[in-house]
Symmetry: C2
Subunit: 226 residues, 2 copies
């Protein structure tokens, strides 16, 4: 173990304003297959493992458990619609500064996403913080993504720190379900459109408006008091 | 006073799945004017008076209070982008049944929205429940829409019932801030993508997943026990 602390960053909705783009892409993917889904049912599942997400949504839209073929067509359509909208993606205010702040504090910086590799490439190009990043995880690292906590375990391994010396910064309930399962403290942001109450209930220890407010709070540095 | 009870229905996000469409239309309207806005900042303001909404968003995006000219261009652009997307609007599951249930219970049924008339026309055509509706409000009835409670007062007047004999069914915090101000009990639904915690905090007395769950709860009929 390195004796250092680590910041585990979720990307979608935490550093990049992509949650609503995913919602729109899934809605269109279902419509493309003659299925109607309320937007909010999609929204609350963003950040969840893609396979689980699509199965749950098919059950809501179709009233049954769907088929592998339908789920595969929906995932492909989502990827196509998301890609079409990707030019409109923007980095969230203060996001790069927050990553820089973690590095300045001497923390090991990990992009702890389970986004598939083709999305991750896009997000990293947009974020442009690779020089500040020590390790990265992606969907390719695990069979099942959040809320399964395996991805958090891998992030801790790659950072070389114990759970109690890390902090997960995320915007989705799934981030904190996964982090809590491994004993990693969580800091939530509202930038994915999920409410404070839901994030606290899922296990976030503190919730801030956005990355800028996380920096201002000084909470990342507070572990230095150990 | 009629001696009857009344159901005051918000439309956007409560009966029609239009909140995310409004978010996308505002995001595009700002982008069209070279301004970037995080989606979540728009989302949490949907259902709020349009003039206040655009002023607050301009302040976030532009760092100043904007100008009447800019705000007017943004509103026009929103209307254009919203209209372009309006073919994709859908009625929320159970929404028509909920309106029918209110009528079946002998309640005065009011569509208590402050959407502008051109949006309201579209929503009413889509909803197709005019035969069940006793009264309607719109943005044209008031200078300032929710969270200002004037629109709730007008809805009560048109229904001819006292505040305590009415219930506001809505999806946005602004619905319950306005209803609470007039002493109208609130029933929240999650279909606008706003969390349970936020709705309760804004004054909703109970929160359900969606219209179907409101019907199943029997809460609309519970006032009959008086």
């Amino acid at each position: 173990m390195s004796g250092r602390r680590a910041a585990l960053f979720d990307i979608d909705g935490t550093l990049v304003d992509s949650v609503y783009t995913h919602v729109a892409a899934w809605r269109d993917a279902f419509a493309d297959n003659d299925l109607t889904l309320p937007h909010w049912e999609i929204h609350r599942r963003i950040g969840k493992d893609g396979g689980i997400l699509v199965s749950e949504l098919v059950e809501i839209a179709d009233g049954d458990t769907g088929s592998d073929d339908l789920e595969s067509r929906l995932s492909d359509a989502h990827d196509r619609f998301y890609s079409e909208r990707s030019e409109g993606l923007t980095v969230l205010p203060g996001a790069r500064d927050l990553v820089r702040e973690a590095q300045r504090l001497g923390m090991v910086v990990v992009l702890a996403t389970s986004a598939p590799d083709h999305e991750l490439d896009l997000l990293r190009r947009l974020l442009d913080v690779d020089d500040l990043v020590d390790a990265v995880t992606s969907g390719a690292d695990v069979e099942t993504a959040k809320p399964d906590s395996t991805i958090v375990g891998i992030a801790l391994d790659r950072a070389g720190v114990e759970a109690a010396d890390a902090v997960m910064i995320g915007d989705a309930t799934w981030d904190f379900v996964a982090a809590s399962d491994r004993g990693v403290p969580g800091v939530g942001v509202l930038t994915g459109g999920v409410g404070r109450g839901e994030l606290l209930q899922a296990g976030a220890g503190a919730v801030f408006r956005d990355a800028a407010e996380v920096i201002a709070s000084g909470i990342l540095g507070s572990g230095d008091r150990r």
